[in-house]
Symmetry: C2
């Protein structure tokens, strides 16, 4: 039976540390503040927003809501970003992605001040993640995987890691974050041949495929640590990308879904907000 890498324990630890640092900022007259820019009322966005707001309250972060209609025109969106950039009392910005208009999403990402970019939308942030410069913030979900591995004391240097999925918000950035920690990373995707063969040799398996039951028992081994990033609904039931019932008895450790990576994401967001506020104070 596998050890469960519990997201709540990781999130609690991050929350505790950064609540203390938020308090320290307030004692210097700084109120950490996150802007949330949302277009429309997508249920998944609203659900994430509720969780993020709750986490921000726990840490001691104020939230400034920028809610626009789903069909808001370009000027309205870009003006909101400019307002966020120019407001010294706002330290960070989360935009709910994807936008309906991909081109506008890219333009908003380019416009955002990268120092306030806590979810890696700007070219500068992506470049830093890609080159391992650590001057900016990785996407919260990709970083959540790293926080879990760090919390449970997993040393990555020299480890063989298989990442399944190559999305711009999880698969690609987490591959680079893992490499930055000196892991040897193999990046698998839908065109990969013999994915089970490749995955089953890895020390750590990070699954961000976006489909339930992508990873079956043929993908794993008894010494393996499995990080399941998936969020799927099958018959109304929340599940990850891993066939948990058949994989969990085999591997050494695994993140459950729910209660794994998803439980850590908002605490990473809060951490990034505090780091951005601290950096603004120092600059």
């Amino acid at each position: 039976m596998a050890e469960l890498f519990k997201g709540k324990d990781v999130a609690d630890s991050i929350t505790q540390e950064f609540a203390a640092r938020a308090e320290a900022l307030r004692s210097k007259g700084i109120k950490p503040c996150l802007a949330m820019l949302r277009l429309g009322e997508d249920e998944a966005d609203l659900s994430y927003e509720r969780n993020a707001v709750k986490r921000c309250e726990k840490v001691g972060i104020e939230v400034a809501h920028f809610n626009l209609p789903l069909d808001a025109d370009k000027d309205a969106v870009l003006n909101a970003v400019k307002e966020i950039n120019n407001d010294k009392n706002i330290h960070a910005c989360l935009m709910f992605r994807p936008f309906k208009d991909k081109e506008l999403e890219n333009e908003a990402g380019r416009l955002l001040d990268f120092k306030k970019d806590v979810d890696c939308m700007t070219p500068e942030s992506l470049m830093s993640v890609f080159l391992g410069r650590g001057q900016s913030f990785a996407p919260c979900t990709a970083q959540a995987c790293m926080e879990i591995l760090d919390f449970y004391g997993v040393e990555l240097t020299g480890k063989n890691v298989c990442v399944i999925g190559r999305s711009p918000v999880v698969g690609k950035p987490v591959s680079m974050l893992l490499q930055n920690k000196n892991a040897t990373v193999t990046m698998c995707h839908t065109k990969t041949k013999d994915m089970a063969g490749i995955a089953s040799k890895a020390d750590v398996l990070v699954v961000a495929a976006g489909h339930a039951n992508t990873v079956t028992k043929e993908f794993v081994n008894p010494n393996q640590l499995v990080i399941d990033v998936g969020i799927n609904y099958v018959d109304g039931q929340l599940c990850g990308d891993v066939d948990f019932a058949n994989v969990e008895p085999i591997v050494k450790a695994i993140t459950p879904v729910p209660g794994g990576v998803g439980a850590v994401t908002t605490s990473v967001l809060a951490k990034h907000v505090i780091l951005a506020a601290e950096a603004a104070l120092d600059s």
Copy 2:
């Protein structure tokens, strides 16, 4: 005995195609022009510059030289970049890297108009390579590897590729370019354990380690294609990162050094200049 993937044949093919496209541009009154920004007189820079100028002549590209002293101050460098950005008759810019002052190099890279960025210095360009958006130009050497594989008809979809080296100008970008072509890429580096074991299972091996004899016969297999990006001098003799004498008899194909990747780089540069000039005409 391995097939030799000859850089000259690849370079000739690119040169021929893009000389015709340069001619077409001139017939529309556009003279393709590349700015070269160089600080100091480093011998390797001068040697590359001579080769690049020759290639530009063959393709029909004018070169504007911006030569500054090695200790040029920040304003002088950034003003040169601004001049390049603002001059409509300049379509592209190559900066010789690394600068002595890394911070200034980064600042110059951020300032450069990414549409003129033919060697992937700007955050926008790096983001495009990382995300596979193809809106900008990859680093010339990384792209040269891709041109060789393309010229010799290597289909990459589903292939297992091992990349050795994780530099920002070769290893990392070429890993993403290969993934964008649907290869399954494993990124190896100095902290990788059992690199020979990993490399020897790959269909394609790209070596950008920066050290002679990194790849020995234990790293290869008889069906393997080897792309050697290395440029080293051992006892006054130019050689790659591969122990050619012992590896060549085993593998299916290999790029020689000299006469491999290095021979293609300037033709990729010229190609990028023409593409930038064409894009400027269309915009």
